[in-house]
């Protein structure tokens, strides 16, 4: 993180095929009278190298959307295209395997790709350095703090060599200082690797801090209601005036949407 880069984020979505494209995707949970329409005809695109934040009140179908993109669940209607891209995902919980060491967790992702043991070791060590955990390779997940576990989880996701990174409120449970640091790390990694990122959050400032775009979803059923393009220079600070101003506007719109359900 050296000189502030100008306008790297926005203006990237040049014409070629998007990294992910949702076309009129709907998801219904359950059947009959107790069924629930979680997503209603959601269409969305993100280009390779684009950082898209999905914002909405809880229960509006954000996790559902990521699960569908990750292939953990199937849409009831509509199509999702990722052009055969490799997809990695981070959850709100670190979801590390307790029987493996920190390094072992990262190595497992590499093993699936068929790397041999030596290569796995070396690569895992590199990735742990990327998330500043080089000294903790031999520890067990439970010996680390929540923020450190989430960084291991990030290293594991990076190990997958994915082009598309899905993040479901990955920093929601962390304290503000740790979260700030992880924002910086994530931004750096995203730029270096030219990732497409779908980042779910219900924190408006976080969305504005990170996103090239902030996509606002309505609740029950989940629908795209706004698609803000964030033109602020990077790197941004969560506590800066510009971020606060834009976040204020988006928060108003979000509140309006939430009030609609109170009536």
């Amino acid at each position: 993180m050296t000189a502030p880069a100008q306008e790297l984020g926005s203006g990237r979505s040049e014409g070629d095929t998007p990294a992910v494209r949702l076309d009129a995707v709907s998801k219904v949970y359950g059947r009959g009278p107790s069924s629930l329409l979680a997503l209603d005809q959601v269409s969305l695109e993100a280009a390779q190298g684009e950082f898209v934040c999905l914002l909405g009140a809880s229960g509006c179908g954000k996790s559902t959307m990521l699960n569908l993109v990750a292939g953990l669940d199937r849409p009831t209607a509509g199509t999702i295209e990722t052009g055969g891209r490799k997809i990695a995902m981070m959850f709100q919980e670190p979801a590390l395997f307790p029987w493996l060491t920190v390094s072992g967790n990262v190595e497992l992702a590499l093993r699936v790709q068929g790397l041999d043991r030596k290569a796995r070791r070396a690569r895992a060590a590199e990735l742990l350095d990327v998330v500043h955990l080089g000294g903790f390779a031999r520890k067990r997940p439970h010996e680390l703090s929540g923020g450190m576990r989430q960084r291991v989880s990030l290293a594991r996701a990076l190990a997958q060599q994915a082009d598309l990174l899905l993040m479901d409120e990955p920093f929601g449970a962390l304290d503000a200082m740790t979260r700030d640091l992880l924002h910086d790390e994530l931004e750096r990694i995203w730029r270096e690797r030219n990732l497409a990122v779908l980042f779910v959050t219900h924190n408006v400032r976080e969305a504005v801090r990170l996103g090239d775009r902030v996509v606002l979803l309505s609740s029950r059923p989940g629908k795209v209601i706004e698609d803000y393009s964030v033109k602020l220079d990077r790197p941004r600070r969560t506590e800066s005036r510009d971020v606060a101003e834009l976040a204020g506007g988006i928060t108003e719109r979000l509140k309006e949407e939430v009030r609609r359900h109170g009536r």
């Binding site: 990750a70 995902m89 029987w99 450190m148």
Partner: protein, 289 residues
């Protein structure tokens, strides 16, 4: 809007990590072992005291119900004879080989039932039902099928232990945390790799509990079997019990029972140590308060 220099960032991260990480002392296996052993020794002392008290109360004459001192002396004598060690060896051999076979059978059945939905529907509750069947109830059938042979004993040991082992595996597979399954799916683990790298390790604690329970059943079945099925020139602990009763040798009977109890407890301690070691590695041993 100053951007922090990289090394300041590094320091900040390292500082946060150092503050947050818990410094934890690791306990060695020996310490774990001792931690479990001394409460037992205390319990033994209490039991011996009560035993002595009951004997002194004089409900039964000494030759029917020997006191702890006589019995322990007899135990000392018996431990000096080759026959007694032979008996212990035979019983342990039967116990371990039967248990090993039970593990094999239990794992095969557990794996099949947890994977195949139809088998689950058909046999799931049957396996639990088998667990509640007293093992001694199998002996008449076993003796009909195999005669008064070692096979009859092994049969009952296996049928007593295998359902618990299978059940341990099945519930371990069932209770694999969904979040880990999702993580595994995203990582690209499928089919066999999914089992090998995720489901099997995740079910280890439950499997271990199944093994422990299986051993308890195996040991009980074995004792019942050795009392019922006595093979000539094959001294065993059960057989020793049988003859001690026939000879109305109370001290010898109690001495043999002590050995049976001690072996059972030692194996239980071994399982306990394995379980604690696992919990410690996985970080499941954090107590509240």
């Amino acid at each position: 809007m100053a951007v922090e220099a990289p090394n300041r960032l590094n320091e900040q991260i390292a500082g946060l990590d150092a503050l947050e990480i818990q410094t934890e002392r690791k306990r060695g296996v020996l310490q774990l072992f001792w931690g479990r052993l001394w409460p037992m020794l205390l319990a033994v002392a209490i039991v011996l005291a009560i035993w002595e008290g009951v004997v002194r109360a004089g409900f039964w004459p000494e030759y029917v119900f020997a006191g702890p001192i006589t019995s322990l002396q007899e135990l000392g004598n018996r431990l000096g004879t080759a026959e007694f060690w032979h008996a212990i060896a035979t019983t342990m051999r039967r116990g371990l080989s039967g248990f090993a076979l039970a593990i094999l059978v239990g794992v095969l059945i557990g794996a099949a039932v947890s994977r195949v939905r139809l088998l689950r529907a058909a046999f799931g509750s049957l396996i639990t039902g088998l667990q509640t069947m007293p093992s001694i109830a199998w002996f008449p059938l076993a003796i009909l099928l195999f005669g008064l042979t070692e096979s009859a004993i092994t049969f009952v040991v296996v049928i007593g232990a295998a359902p618990s082992i299978a059940n341990g595996l099945i519930s371990g597979v069932d209770y694999t945390p969904p979040i880990l399954l999702r993580a595994g799916h995203v990582l690209g683990l499928r089919r066999l790799a999914l089992y090998r790298h995720l489901i099997l390790p995740a079910s280890l604690p439950s499997f271990l509990a199944g093994l422990k329970q299986g051993w308890a059943f195996a040991w009980r079945s074995l004792m019942a079997g050795e009392i019922l099925v006595i093979i000539a020139n094959q001294p065993s602990l059960g057989e020793q019990l049988h003859y001690a009763r026939e000879l109305a040798d109370s001290a010898r009977l109690l001495a043999t029972m002590i050995v049976i109890l001690v072996i059972g407890v030692l194996v239980d301690v071994l399982f306990g140590v394995a379980d604690s070691a696992l919990r410690q590695r996985w970080g499941l041993d954090q107590r509240i308060g």
